[in-house]
Symmetry: C2
Subunit: 155 residues, 2 copies
DNA sequence: ATATTTTAGTTTGTCTAACAAACAATATAG
DNA sequence: CTATATTGTTTGTTAGACAAACTAAAATAT
């Protein structure tokens, strides 16, 4: 959830330290989202548009695959890509192997903007991570990745 | 941004290992947001409504303070609270010291739901964090918190 | 004290984001 | 070859977000 100063029922310790990790991860994720949001806003990109560009940096998925990855309804993807296409960030490429479908790819413009925003995000997150030592940063990166890759089952 | 298999320009190492930490934090934050989103959806709460409940668990801010904390325009808060109030999750309490303002507080219903969702989130994040050892979990919690608290300057 | 300015919140209008249900076109299975 | 499933769009609805204009109250200045 959100709290700054959470852990309202702070027990001594015990094995149910679960809410510490929960709160800190939730907190962290809001902070990161805020950084991403502000970076995107510099280029007038909504969080979901920004995320789209991030995904397309090294993929050319079709609409269905985008829907799965973004956990959105396919009908939401239509609008998302429509708006991105209108802004010349992405394009629909007719799929060579399925005449119903399209692959979505970054335009050169889209790729440039993705690169620029990427730099901005690195700068800002780098700044945040500046409160850690190099060793801590490596630890955090490794642990974060481990958790991030632990999903799969949409539970 | 988003990638699973990012780091497209993976240099040997050098001091600009910055994109590793960036990518892993971004990844992690999307995973956490997804967990929060699915937990909220169980109670038909949007991400922002969920976050609102989280904030109100131990605060009674006025509209302005909510706008600041959520980084939203004050006019967005009006609608957010209207909808939450319609669902009997929160209530506007006329501020005793400023007749223009309100404090927003959870209703008993809202508090109950916040508690239930909190449990759900703990269960799910606990599951994710299950891939870590206890020591790693503690490390991650501590590092995450340290970074989360490093903000303040909206940059 | 009262006039001016600032602040808190709402309203209105506009756009994006999301979903669900119905649909069209194409693919796949029987 | 027909029936069924899949891919994506359309239509209609709601939530979420912003900006500008506005109201009421509070704070400040004169």
């Amino acid at each position: 959830m959100n709290n700054e100063t959470s852990n309202p029922t702070s027990q001594p310790s015990g094995p149910e330290n679960t809410s510490l990790i929960v709160d800190s991860l939730a907190q962290l994720s809001y902070v990161i989202q805020s950084v991403l949001g502000r970076s995107g806003a510099m280029y007038d990109l909504s969080p979901i548009q920004l995320r789209l560009l991030g995904i397309l940096r090294d993929r050319e998925p079709n609409m269905k695959q985008l829907a799965e990855r973004l956990e959105l309804d396919k009908s939401s993807i239509t609008g998302l890509i429509d708006r991105a296409e209108r802004r010349h960030l992405v394009e629909r490429i007719p799929s060579p192997e399925d005449r119903r479908g399209f692959n979505v790819r970054l335009t050169p413009d889209g790729r440039r903007i993705a690169r620029e925003i990427g730099g901005e995000i690195e700068r800002r997150i780098g700044e945040l991570a500046g409160v850690l030592t190099e060793t801590e940063r490596e630890q955090l990166a490794s642990l974060a990745l481990k958790v991030a890759e632990a999903r799969s089952r949409p539970s």
